[in-house]
Symmetry: C2
Subunit: 210 residues, 2 copies
Amino acid sequence: EDVMSSNEVYAQQNREYFNKQKIFTVNLLSSPGSGKTTLLEKTIRLLKNSVSVAVIEGDQQTELDADRIRSAGANALQINTGAGCHLDAHQISHAIKEIELDSNSLLMIENVGNLVCPSMFNLGEHFKVVILSVTEGDDKPLKYPHMFHAADIVVFNKTDLLPYVDFDIEKSQSYAKQINPKVITFELSAKTGEGMTDWIDWLKLNLTNK
Amino acid sequence: EDVMSSNEVYAQQNREYFNKQKIFTVNLLSSPGSGKTTLLEKTIRLLKNSVSVAVIEGDQQTELDADRIRSAGANALQINTGAGCHLDAHQISHAIKEIELDSNSLLMIENVGNLVCPSMFNLGEHFKVVILSVTEGDDKPLKYPHMFHAADIVVFNKTDLLPYVDFDIEKSQSYAKQINPKVITFELSAKTGEGMTDWIDWLKLNLTNK
Ligand SMILES: Nc1nc2c(ncn2[C@@H]2O[C@H](COP(=O)(O)OP(=O)(O)OP(=O)(O)O)[C@@H](O)[C@H]2O)c(=O)[nH]1
Ligand SMILES: Nc1nc2c(ncn2[C@@H]2O[C@H](COP(=O)(O)OP(=O)(O)OP(=O)(O)O)[C@@H](O)[C@H]2O)c(=O)[nH]1
Ligand SMILES: [Mg+2]
Ligand SMILES: [Mg+2]
């Protein structure tokens, strides 16, 4: 209980900073390997000429993801959590003092790959974006309900692999809506770029609204 | 610290029971959707005529996996962890009193899909088997090292999808061995059955050695 409430205090502070500076902030959540970094790379390449983009990366170890983000053309800061299974608002409050953030910009936080624990820790973000790869099985919203309940957006990724896997996208979407009726869903392939338009439009819409 | 040590006490008790009853016990660990249940279904179908097989399932919610195990032909008990991100030895000590276990048998425990937390909780199993799907990216052993360090076996699953993904199996194996030199690896497709022989042989070897 105490851990959560102290996390909420930091999350609130982060949110106030993001709002004051007009930094639109999303928290990307998924299982390991669902395609968070690939989606970020693609998104940065499509947006970097129209808005300043920064990424905070969370992983147990390595700088691998932050390096990929830098080569895609955005500022990146890597947090290594060690044995930790999620990012928390305290870590983000430190990270935002270290990384260069412009006002009127986009900040994307890639959480540790984990479909359970990170759902319980607000970071101060405006939206939680959960990525489900079509290779993981269409039952995930029912089996990992806490994450899908916390989601604002669900992105079905790797749609290029649909011909080779047993995944019923309509069924999975209805499961996600069963768990969380207000969730918005996108279907795309971060690798081929198919379906990226709706996702990019959603980001742009929120950037202009800030 | 206290949580871990009390877990170790239960794990020890479970292990003594497994050894006394000659129940060979493995703990299956992976990201969500890597194919734990599919591998179990396939394994049960190949072994059920030669050994008594039981499965303990761990999920946040639903009986979905236990139902799949029962239709494959093995006894199954579903543990629902709620918001919990891993199975622990205390839960297993209760489960083994509920499920019917024969002596000289095989018990497979499917943990909650999570490549982080379950690595820290021994259940009393003889071996930890980590499954990595080739759809998740070959860098996972480096990025989620604690799980690969705890693994006795690493199964590379979904090899039927290799033609459609960027996954270098040799590279990933060398990463796994870098993190944990004693790890044994298998490559297979739980869906098509390709490569299952080595995995089944390994199980049979351990069943006769008990
Ligand atoms: N076919 C296909 N592969 C994809 C797609 N998106 C990502 N991948 C692959 O999936 C693997 C993992 O992608 P990442 O972007 O590293 O996944 P991640 O969620 O960032 O992984 P972690 O940060 O380690 O949890 C890599 O092999 C990618 O090439 C996609 O849309 N289609
Ligand atoms: N192509 C292919 N798909 C597979 C293979 N093994 C599993 N799958 C698919 O991967 C998805 C998830 O499989 P499951 O066996 O339910 O995975 P799991 O690890 O038990 O998932 P959770 O228990 O929910 O964490 C399903 O759509 C399976 O059909 C495989 O070898 N090849
Ligand atoms: Mg990543
Ligand atoms: Mg399963």
